[in-house]
């Protein structure tokens, strides 16, 4: 079973991703900010990371940089409410960029593609 790390500061949204992605047959681990995400990656080495950008403590782009410097091969999907980070070249190192929507189809499709 593939393990996905979902990084998201919004508690209820995190719960939603957990439920929905578990249902797709993935093992879901979660983190509430960038620092926690780095810790979780070191401990459990997930197969894919879904990363929010605006979060407390450490934002998703910074966390992504740190994670990628340690584990180059983990695919990362940026999942954000902002479309403007698309132009931030740091976000180009992510494998996909999904704009948050209540319809999780796009996110699920991208995960399937990358795993």
């Amino acid at each position: 079973m593939k393990t996905i790390l979902v990084v998201e500061d919004d508690k209820n949204q995190l719960l939603l991703y957990e439920q929905e992605l578990s249902r797709e047959g993935y093992n879901i681990i979660t983190a509430r900010d960038g620092l926690e995400a780095i810790k979780k990656v070191r401990e459990q080495l997930p197969d894919l990371i879904v990363m929010d950008i605006t979060m407390p403590k450490m934002n998703g782009i910074e966390a992504m940089g740190k994670i990628l410097s340690e584990h180059k091969k983990i695919p990362i999907i940026i999942n954000t409410a902002y479309s403007c980070y698309k132009d931030d070249f740091m976000s180009w190192s992510a494998n996909a960029y999904v704009i948050k929507s209540s319809n999780l189809k796009e996110l699920k499709d991208k995960i399937k593609e990358l795993i």
């Binding site: 919004d10 939603l16 409410a81 479309s83 948050k100 929507s101």
Partner: protein, 579 residues
């Protein structure tokens, strides 16, 4: 016998003497019949008959209605010398001012037996006075006109008006310092003798004073007369000393040319274009600089140009030059003012857009997150209760509403997101064609009849095609939505001045002036499900392209949106586009 000879001689001498006088003389009896008159009187009044034996008022064409005002009668009744000035038109059609002095002649018993009427021709003096007052009036008229084209036209009208300077035709040339040329700007006057006669008759019938004429001619001035067109095509380099206009500019002196065709020093091309053998060129000097030249002639009635006319024209030209300089300053001021106002408006608009952009990005983000959660859970519910009809139906409603909100947010996010521009050389017609085929199904569903009038000669211009397409889609959508019952949509392209112009015309509801004022304000909308950003975004894009939008709209008839995009954009952008 001897006495008779002597008498005859004396008569002759008296006749010769009185004829030599610069004055008309007439002897009247008490019934005001003319008993004797000298020849000079007949000349002065251009009489085709012998005045002797006729009534005084008949010969002098007196206009005073009752006899109380008659100066001759006054002299007769008061016994005093009486003088008066009269204005008359002779049988030959000349206007004359005559000063009459009537002196009673008495016999030994001091009874008045006869009257001696002395007449002086004061036409020339009167004309001088009249001209001075005319110049004053013209100067006043000119000072009151600050709009340059109107002023120039006024000046030429004054030069040609019979009631003013009375030339047949007048052309105005202006000096363009930057290009070192003097060019034809405007011309007033008939193009042929027939037209001249027609116009003069018309004018004489219609207009009383100069003000009247000037007012009327400003409204009826036509720019398509052959004379005007020929003049507009004239331009001379200021280094070309052989040209008479140029030498007039350089010498700052009035040039009166009496016989241009046989003058070897004059360029024949110019004379031929002018079509006049005799003409006068007067420099327009303001602040010691020649700003232009007035060239006037009498080609139709062939009247020689008198020194007096030239002098008058020179004085007039000085005044005119000052007025032109004033108007130019005023125009520059207005231009600067307009630029300032436009910059200010642009600044305010972009400031407002920036604030709204930041705010909407923030709000959109804050709302989108909970929306994702709400919608996401609603989907879970809907899936898990797929066989529970009521729960399914209700959760579907939640999903639908969330979708709608998300769509609106997407719109706002587009608006707030900084736009990356790609400027390339684009044929607008193709872009429009492309947009139309994209929207084909949309037209069909809206029962809209699409008409295209694309001018194939419009040049390619540098734009961001994606952004411009966005503008077209927004405006065309608006147009279609204003015709819920269907209608005609006309797309037109053309060049206008320095711009490519795109007209989008619908036969829809039209807009009230209040709506028109607000349509570019972000989040202003009259539609039930609109977000009010479409037009704001469109305008921002057009602004970014240094273009502008004009709107015409009539309620219940429809609207036209005209997009103006500059043909010449910054050269850097152009080279970028051609790469």
């Amino acid at each position: 016998m001897i006495t008779n000879v002597l008498k005859d001689n004396i008569n002759n001498v008296i006749n010769n003497l009185t004829d030599a006088l610069e004055a008309g003389l007439a002897l009247l009896d008490k019934e005001l019949n003319i008993l004797w008159a000298n020849k000079r009187l007949s000349c002065m009044l251009s009489l085709p008959y012998d005045p002797v034996g006729r009534k005084c008022r008949e010969v002098y064409k007196c206009e005073c209605q009752d006899i109380q005002h008659c100066s001759v009668y006054q002299a007769l009744t008061t016994g005093e010398k009486v003088s008066c000035e009269i204005k008359l038109v002779t049988d030959k059609g000349e206007r004359k001012y005559i000063k009459n002095i009537t002196t009673p002649i008495r016999d030994e018993k001091d009874n008045i037996t006869h009257l001696l009427k002395l007449s002086l021709d004061i036409t020339r003096q009167e004309e001088k006075v009249h001209r001075l007052s005319l110049l004053r009036k013209l100067a006043e008229l000119m000072q009151g006109t600050l709009q340059i084209d109107r002023l120039l036209h006024l000046i030429l009208t004054c030069v040609t008006a019979g009631s003013a300077l009375g030339f047949n035709r007048a052309r105005l040339f202006l000096v363009e310092k930057k290009q070192n040329i003097v060019y034809g700007k405007m011309a007033v006057g008939p193009s042929s003798l027939e037209e001249a006669n027609k116009i003069w008759n018309e004018i004489a019938d219609k207009y009383e004073g100069l003000e009247d004429l000037v007012k009327a001619s400003a409204e009826t001035y036509r720019y398509d007369t052959p004379l005007h067109m020929i003049t507009r095509l004239m331009a001379f380099s200021l280094t070309d000393e052989k040209e008479i206009i140029v030498s007039c500019v350089n010498s700052k002196k009035t040039i009166l040319e009496k016989d241009a065709f046989s003058n070897p020093n004059i360029d024949k091309k110019f004379v031929n274009k002018l079509g006049a053998n005799e003409f006068v060129c007067v420099p327009l000097v303001a602040k010691n600089e020649v700003i232009g030249v007035i060239c006037a002639d009498n080609v139709y009635n062939g009247k020689p140009i008198t020194a007096e006319q030239v002098e008058l024209l020179s004085i007039f030209a000085n005044r005119a030059a000052l007025a032109i300089a004033n108007a130019e300053v005023y125009r520059k001021l207005g231009e600067k003012n307009r630029q300032l106002r436009e910059t200010r408006e642009r600044l305010i608009r972009s400031e407002r857009l920036a604030v709204i952009g930041n705010m909407s990005a923030y709000i959109a983000h804050e709302i989108r997150n909970p929306l994702v959660t709400i919608g996401g859970y609603a989907r879970i519910l809907s899936r898990e209760y797929a066989d529970h009809k009521k729960v399914k139906q209700n959760t579907e409603i939640i999903i639908e509403e969330v979708n709608r909100l998300e769509k609106i947010l997407a719109n706002i996010m587009d608006f707030s997101k900084p736009i990356e521009t790609v400027r390339i050389l684009t044929q607008i017609n193709e872009l429009l064609e492309n947009t139309c085929s994209l929207m084909e199904p949309y037209f069909k569903s809206g029962h809209v009849h699409l008409m295209k009038k694309f001018n194939p000669t419009i040049p390619k211009i540098v734009v961001d095609p994606m952004q411009m397409k966005q503008v077209f889609v927004n405006l065309i959508k608006n147009a279609v939505e204003s015709m819920p019952q269907g209608g005609k949509l006309l797309l037109e392209t053309m060049t206008e001045d320095e711009y490519v112009k795109i007209d989008i015309t619908d036969t829809g509801e039209g807009m009230t002036p209040e709506v028109m004022q607000n349509i570019f304000v972000p989040f202003f909308t009259t539609k039930v499900d609109g977000t009010g950003v479409g037009l704001a975004v469109s305008q921002k894009i057009i602004d970014d392209h240094n273009g502008f939008v004009k709107i015409k709209s009539i309620v219940k008839e429809g609207s036209t949106f005209s997009i103006f995009l500059p043909i010449k954009n910054a050269p850097a952008e152009l080279s970028g586009g051609e790469r």
